[in-house]
Symmetry: C2
Subunit: 275 residues, 2 copies
């Protein structure tokens, strides 16, 4: 039986692309129109694993997604980077002058801002998913409307690419995480990255002390993000990613951090995709 | 002549509320339908100052706004916290059962997710501004459509509050920054907070070393956020907010950080609104 992978969006989306690159093509996709639904499919056991965008170099972390992982006790069992390519696509024969509206995900619109600025006659409309608009244009034979979506969407939904590679920054890698309900996907010797979450008091030097321990234990920090703890004005939660060469170094740091920080939690231990 | 204050959104928005609380009511508002336009109004000198949302406890930092401040060499001259209250509003006489669509800013929709879940017949539609939909409902006499907006919008646009305080988390403070083209708004003795941006190598302990200096100079960290530097895979930029009691302590740390970090830049020096 094929593995069931929940993705945000429909076939032809970036999440679909990541599912293929990470798991191969022999998977059954569970299309979800929101991240909440994606989590729901995983929690109910309908999907075996899920693919979820978590950060990119333009917008930073998608904090609500961190909260979904944390609040539902899910485990990050892998990560994958995808270079995002945006293409403007419409019904066959449509030229850029014919386009009155561009529909896409807010993030995609943001990433193509410079290109779109040159066409002030085009109205920007936010939609839930990049590929969903492409599908809708074909289904409803929508003239004057273009989608911003990955190339594969133009093939799946028989659209013509009006302008290709319209993203402002060519090197726009988005990081996706692979989620599962249970942990223990990999043996310790294959693990060289971890995602952690902990809480610290607003006390001078408290974060410095934690980072010193990490550094002493040979951990590299690849990401750090503070977030005020709601209802507790003087506390901060931190989402931190670390890489390491030896699992035993990480294990030692983990033991120390459990003592030093409050509400210490491992969100996932996995293989660094940029090793 | 009244001070011209650029706000994101129109009258009745949260930005409007912040402008009133920070500057008093005797200001001329410059309504902008995007953060880009807000920056444009400031850069061209049409607006004297601007109010810009920068982070909240649910979604974290609005990273693209940090980039706008940084890339345009703007200065943060103040900050303000607003407790966000969301109300569902529609034409007079409309009940919740009559509502088919709720339009609001994606962030507002996210913050009212739990309330909206209970009304699965209602379709959620993302719009640019919380107050703009309220205005449109009145203008076009739109039945079956509700806006999520601050209370003041219901008064300005003659709508009835169908459900009040529908936000999931009651203590949802959003932080706004006040921007200006020129610096030097306050004398040194009134400054006790600063926003900094710098770049570090992906080298074990490099951030710990910087935080140690801050701690040694009696600076408190109230926010930290890493972001991969685009096109430079092994470098990270950091956005950091610090508070301090003595400007001379901060001045010393600043001198040290200028040597230790690359591309060190002060985004603003101002008065801590949570002093």
């Amino acid at each position: 039986m094929a593995l069931k992978i929940a993705i945000q969006g429909i076939k032809g989306s970036n999440h679909h692309q990541v599912a293929n690159e990470f798991f191969g093509e022999d998977v059954e996709l569970v299309e979800c129109l929101s991240f909440d639904e994606l989590i729901h499919q995983l929690m109910t056991g309908y999907a075996d694993k899920a693919v979820m965008a978590i950060e990119n170099s333009i917008a930073g972390s998608i904090i609500p997604n961190y909260a979904l992982v944390y609040n539902n006790d899910l485990h990050i069992i892998g990560e994958h980077y995808l270079n995002i390519h945006h293409h403007l696509m419409a019904l066959e024969g449509q030229k850029i002058e014919d386009i009155q509206e561009v529909h896409s995900h807010p993030m995609a619109l943001l990433q193509c801002k410079d290109f779109l600025k040159a066409y002030s006659h085009i109205k920007l409309v936010e939609s839930v998913d990049t590929a969903e608009t492409a599908q809708r244009i074909e289904k409803d034979n929508l003239k004057g409307i273009a989608a911003i979506a990955p190339k594969v969407a133009s093939e799946l939904y028989n659209l013509e690419v009006v302008a290709s590679e319209i993203q402002t920054i060519s090197n726009n890698a988005t990081r996706f995480i692979i989620l599962k309900k249970e942990n223990k996907e990999l043996p310790e010797e294959e693990i060289n990255k971890a995602s952690l979450r902990f809480v610290l008091d607003h006390k001078r030097g408290s974060l410095a002390a934690v980072l010193n321990v990490m550094s002493d234990c040979n951990l590299n920090l690849t990401k750090i993000q503070s977030l005020p703890v709601i209802e507790q004005p003087w506390k901060y939660s931190f989402f931190v990613d670390v890489t390491f060469l030896k699992y035993k170094d990480y294990k030692k740091a983990k033991a120390l951090l459990q003592i030093m920080a409050e509400e210490f939690k491992v969100l996932g231990e996995y293989k660094n995709a940029r090793g």
